[in-house]
Symmetry: C2
């Protein structure tokens, strides 16, 4: 995505003027940064107000920079040669994505395609500029390494689940993982995951029909429900019980 795209596309509104510090404070890697360091970065960011379904970047584009989710939710997908899709990660407010393009070659492409799951505000930071900031600011570099560590860990666990578990177990585990991610408040009921059954299936790495069958069972047990293109976890305890059960 770049400036010219925004000109062509009417709902890509650029707010270059609105650069409040508290905008960046919402992003996990900037949260504990000093006021001074943050000011430098503030001048460089671009923010975009995007709607559900809008594509932010594509995996065949040359990587220009790193993105941050200020609000809303984003799915990261990859395709194989037959056009089959998998959601490799779901990003929530505070998260970063396309961070894997840092300090790589100039011609390197984005690691995945990113699309809005819910409308929200996305922050963009140029690759080279962020690299400078990371270089100049050990505190920031530390936060970035910490964030990438977590991403690597999560990815490793997901790989294990996708490879080893059957559809039922993968579905329940994915519900638990995403439930944790989207559990905004402190209460543990009515957690909303902004995915359709169709999309959820591509996170799990299976078909829509298979997930639908598992969901039917879970709905009978009143553990989940579907409401307006979202998955709602009604009974968190019930879900966790399933996880610890032997099959």
């Amino acid at each position: 995505m770049n400036r010219s795209d925004c000109m062509e596309n009417p709902h890509l509104l650029v707010y270059q003027e609105v650069k409040h510090e508290n905008l960046l404070r919402k992003i996990s890697i900037f949260k504990h940064l000093s006021h001074k360091s943050l000011q430098v970065i503030e001048k460089r960011i671009q923010t975009f107000e995007l709607k559900k379904g809008d594509q932010i970047i594509s995996e065949d584009e040359v990587a220009r920079g790193v993105y941050f989710v200020h609000s809303g939710a984003v799915k990261l997908t990859k395709e194989d040669e037959n056009g089959n899709e998998i959601i490799v990660c779901v990003k929530q407010k505070g998260d970063a994505f396309a961070e894997a393009c840092l300090f790589t070659q100039k011609t390197e492409r984005y690691p995945a395609t990113a699309t809005m799951l819910q409308e929200g505000k996305i922050i963009f930071l140029d690759k080279l500029e962020l690299e400078q900031d990371l270089y100049a600011n050990p505190e920031l570099a530390m936060q970035m390494i910490s964030y990438m560590s977590d991403a690597l860990r999560e990815m490793t666990s997901q790989l294990r689940d996708v490879a080893l578990l059957d559809v039922y177990a993968k579905t329940v585990k994915t519900l638990e993982r995403l439930g944790n991610k989207f559990n905004t408040g402190q209460n543990r009921w009515n957690i909303e995951i902004p995915l359709t059954v169709q999309e959820f299936a591509t996170v799990v790495g299976t078909t829509r029909e298979s997930v639908s069958r598992v969901f039917s069972k879970l709905k009978k047990e009143s553990i989940i429900d579907l409401k307006s293109r979202k998955i709602v976890i009604l009974d968190w305890c019930g879900l966790c019980t399933l996880l610890n059960r032997e099959y």
Copy 2:
């Protein structure tokens, strides 16, 4: 792994004295570091001479530090609750592993279990000490972020392959991926991958029998061969042809 382990285990020889600069120069993230910066790190490293099959770390251990492969090869595995194993990554000389424990909580465990595939020398660096070095040395932090970027990218691609492709395609792709990793020289023939069929199957995320059936076909076409617990790629061009073929 710690000092007391080494006392108990006779083949864990500690070479605390041997700390040549060229030892660290073999590791990709230290390769371009200044002589001065390297000297600081040299004093902190511990090196271990390990045999094939030796376990270096386990995923249920609390993470103490980061490891580097000076020579030999290492597999990183994860288990599910039923004891099924998947190799999430294979590390080659120059690589780092357990880097995902950097800047995480003190009680955090290692992301995976690491075991020697081939005998070789492993370098250990304490988590807190490396964190200090990263903080003090932007050049090093940059290299670390770059290395983690690559790891994230590779993991994303592997996740896509495991989730979407059938056994035949996954096997061929994995051969190509590991072939590239273990292609030491410049020539493109007789590339040796230090894995048994059994182990290879757990990289692909399938059974030994399924891989064996695919390998039978590839052996008939003289693309690969098995020699002394290793997989040898005889015909790189032939292998790449298979990759681009439509199924």
